[in-house]
Symmetry: C2
Amino acid sequence: MTEGTPDGVCPVLPSHGRVRPVAQAAITGGFWATRQAVNATATLAHCESWMERLGWLANFDRVADGTTAPDRPGWPFSDSEVYKLLEALAWETGRTGDPEAEVAIKRLTARVARAQDPDGYLNTCFGHGEQRPRYSDLEGGHELYNLGHLLQAAVARLRTAGEDDLVRLARRAADHVCRTFGADGLPKICGHPEIEVGLAEFGRALGEERYVEQASLFLDRRGHGTLRDIPLGRAYFQDDLPIREAEVWRGHAVRALYLTAAAVDVAVERGDDELLGAVERQWERSVARRTYITGGMGSRHQDEGFGEDWELPPDRAYCETCAGVASIMVSWRLYLATADVRYTDLIERTLYNIIATSPSPDGRAFFYANPLHQRAPGRPADGTEVSPRAEGGSRAAWFDVSCCPTNVARTLAGLGGYLATADGDGLQIHQYAPCTISTELPDGRRVAVDVETGYPETGTVRVRIAADEPSPWTLALRVPAWAAGATLITDAVARPVEPGMVEVRRVFRAGDVITLELPMAPRVTWPDPRIDAVRGCVAVERGPEVLCVESRDLPHADALDALVIDPLSGPRTDAGGVRVRGRLPRHPDRPWPYPSATDSVDNPEWFDVPLRPYHSWAHRGPSSMRIWLPASLPPEGEQRA
Amino acid sequence: MTEGTPDGVCPVLPSHGRVRPVAQAAITGGFWATRQAVNATATLAHCESWMERLGWLANFDRVADGTTAPDRPGWPFSDSEVYKLLEALAWETGRTGDPEAEVAIKRLTARVARAQDPDGYLNTCFGHGEQRPRYSDLEGGHELYNLGHLLQAAVARLRTAGEDDLVRLARRAADHVCRTFGADGLPKICGHPEIEVGLAEFGRALGEERYVEQASLFLDRRGHGTLRDIPLGRAYFQDDLPIREAEVWRGHAVRALYLTAAAVDVAVERGDDELLGAVERQWERSVARRTYITGGMGSRHQDEGFGEDWELPPDRAYCETCAGVASIMVSWRLYLATADVRYTDLIERTLYNIIATSPSPDGRAFFYANPLHQRAPGRPADGTEVSPRAEGGSRAAWFDVSCCPTNVARTLAGLGGYLATADGDGLQIHQYAPCTISTELPDGRRVAVDVETGYPETGTVRVRIAADEPSPWTLALRVPAWAAGATLITDAVARPVEPGMVEVRRVFRAGDVITLELPMAPRVTWPDPRIDAVRGCVAVERGPEVLCVESRDLPHADALDALVIDPLSGPRTDAGGVRVRGRLPRHPDRPWPYPSATDSVDNPEWFDVPLRPYHSWAHRGPSSMRIWLPASLPPEGEQRA
């Protein structure tokens, strides 16, 4: 129980688990520090100003002033954007003590607080004046979803500043939810999971078991067809099957993942190994068969949802930014419960290739969908328009459904909470960035390290012990699954280390340095032959980054359609970056594209094709782009080896 | 002008063109006769009974009785299903003189007629009682779309029976449209094109130039952003660009194609070669880059729309049945205008692989979408449920949006109208079925033939002259583009003929036989290398039929994911049907499906894989299925030749 004693930047703090997160970790430079700074200085204000401009904030004033109308600006879930911004601001104050963020929290909290009904209900779209009645559209109304985000914001506030008005109003809202939907209340659920994960963490943060209990109730209710059937089917909101019985994630990706995150929380708090095991199996199959090389999840635009096994089209990949956020939420919870490195591996992949891809360098435009292949470049965004989904290859300032900007903001502001964990014997470092990490072990010993690295530009990670500690402890470092050939240097002795967690147990003195060398040569990756949509293609990765080719780096506009690369000559790195050998066969323009024979051979010149990190695509303006590159070799590998 | 003198089954009758359709053509047996009989004896009544059950017919009664409410059963476009059924019934009476169909026409017409307002407006969703006002939602209201289908039904009635109540009420509706949306009226258009093609043909059928004029007005208005922008963009309803300026079909496929059909009509009636040329260029690029091997159009579920060039995923292919109907409408009009055989080639492909695929053998269930790859078989349909889209690989009895069943019904009933054309010098036969064809040439000579064939089971097409004619005339037969190696036999002399139209000009006597031998050996087809989604795969076709593999013909349930075939050994035909050599490499189940090397070689036994016509897939129950089969050869063909 931590009320009044803030823990720091720590979005997830289970009451037990194999390891516990380290809240005292601060990123001090490099790739992520830049993004955190842009988030702090640009994105947070950008989000508030758009919500003001569009009337999403004024929706709260209208409820408070009794001036609601049947219609209002924004979708029913626009309240949640305010709460996600509050969460981001709270992590930001915890990270830097930024006084502007503190003022913004108070300003926004005051407006939200005025709109809360005396019984704790809080919503700007339902339940006031001529609006539809409370909970009259559980399938689409998002009332509980919104409150879930409110509770997550309150958790952030509680852990970084302690109890305040935001936390108190969140308590009233959580109590209202428990009264209304408790064991003796309405036996219903919300179409969009999120209240569950909000209740579980808020309950943990406050030591209020009944909030966790309510999360558990909601979880158990789902999957029994309580929600009305819809044309997309009840799988859309995971009401088709109890979560314990499901074998794979399906339906709307963000919904599936928010729900799963809550399931891990409830399983851990209640020691429910059956539920935890079910979630682990769902993760396994979904990651093995329904996940993109970028870590992106959600293959379909139609329902923003998972497709079938192996249905992973690169061009129509939806890979919603928010699904990346939610995937990290799930994997982090699973890691804390199990200490299995596969979860932190996937987090790294998702951070570099989804979270880092969404925002523009100036933090004022975002990708919503993250396709792996852009066929036709759209027009440049002008920064003033609300985009439907930013599908044309230009990041957009804001969206009609604008869940992604605030989701990126809260993830970046809270990123320090995902770097490291501790257990009874020492410290585990998972994500590499220049940073300081310190924590108290359960027996009271304090361990502290500084990390120096140019990662992911370079592969050297130096961990410098920052404090003497006379008894031995274990420093564990994650060797990513892709990092075959890594070496660990201790006391000037290098030894090869395998992917997984590499441990050094000894007495550490301040100034001791442990160095991990990760191999950063670009590498060719082949897709499982069952992923039909990229058959015959390869991708190039470098460290945690997936690379891509943009049409603006090729000789002519249509070249990306013709490009074939030679995967056997291997990608090379030179001063200009990573390059592969490619060529551009000329394809005849047939009136009918299904001929009775393949094209006759032509042998155009090979040339160097520059690759760039996928997360930086379209930084130079709209472009066509592809990650998966057709290879001049048989795809099934039958004629190699 | 044909009022009072029915022409027969002739959906399209331009006032001029390179050729004119032959209305006196009757299919007497074989593949299509079976489907026409099922359509007549099962589908027509099936459609009426579902529309009665769901209240779509009672909607007309409610308007007539003044008992409308703000809400009513069905989507705003449900009226159009009644009109498409009327069109189907009218062609059916023209085809067979079926008295039941005649009774049904009168029964339905009477109900529709009662709902018509005195000024000709006719709609059950808008404009009465507490319903929304007329034309208050042109983007989504479908009022003019519905009327377009009414006019097409009236055309069918006029050409098969002459003027009656249906034709008269359609006249009143058309006059209302012209008054309301004429040059001095509302300068608006309907979100779903269809009124244009309805007005143009109704105008031609009645000799009412002003209806064609109104169609032309609607066409010219579109593309100027008159309709409100929507999240899917104005391209969704082709209001992004004037039709003369467009280079390719885009947005919602059925909308794009209905609009294009009208554009051909208007271009032909007004001698507007610029417009005709624009449409031909759009057809060319769309067929070359945005069309499936089945003839299916529309790659995307999200907007039921065309994708970008080369975006042709087989698994998520939408290929709406109605887009197949609409594609035939476009190509037939273009053929009549130009006599270019590429259009009738595409019609054949679409007939065998989209139109024939949708209905079940009993005519009481339908596919809405026609994917080329079904990953997971759904559950069997039980014939009593309204399906959202029948996406699970089971044909459904009816749909929430149920445009496809009636569209198939009207196409099958009117199919005789697409078999043959005539010009000043003779007869052209385009689609091969056992049939009788007779027509009067412009100079008064009557030519008549009987066709005997087992097509597409066998490739022999015998055309027997049915009437003496002392002066020479030309019989032209379509040799499909796929039929390299065809031969023509005249007077016991065989000669090789090339794809295109093969002509025999001479004096024909009754009993003369001309025989076309089309090569029916199964053949391997390769996709253009730019169609990323099927790279490394081949398809097998036989005659006009695209073939597929169903999982139920393979050794185990997951086999379809592993199947690789040998395209070089070639498909074979034996008593059991068509077979290819295939094998099932064992793929390791990796935790992460993007390894750093391809699988090591395994060499499982080759075995015979049976193929079936795609149009018959899932006839034996739900199954996974694929048309494009991974080939054990490099896809780009670089290492062949």
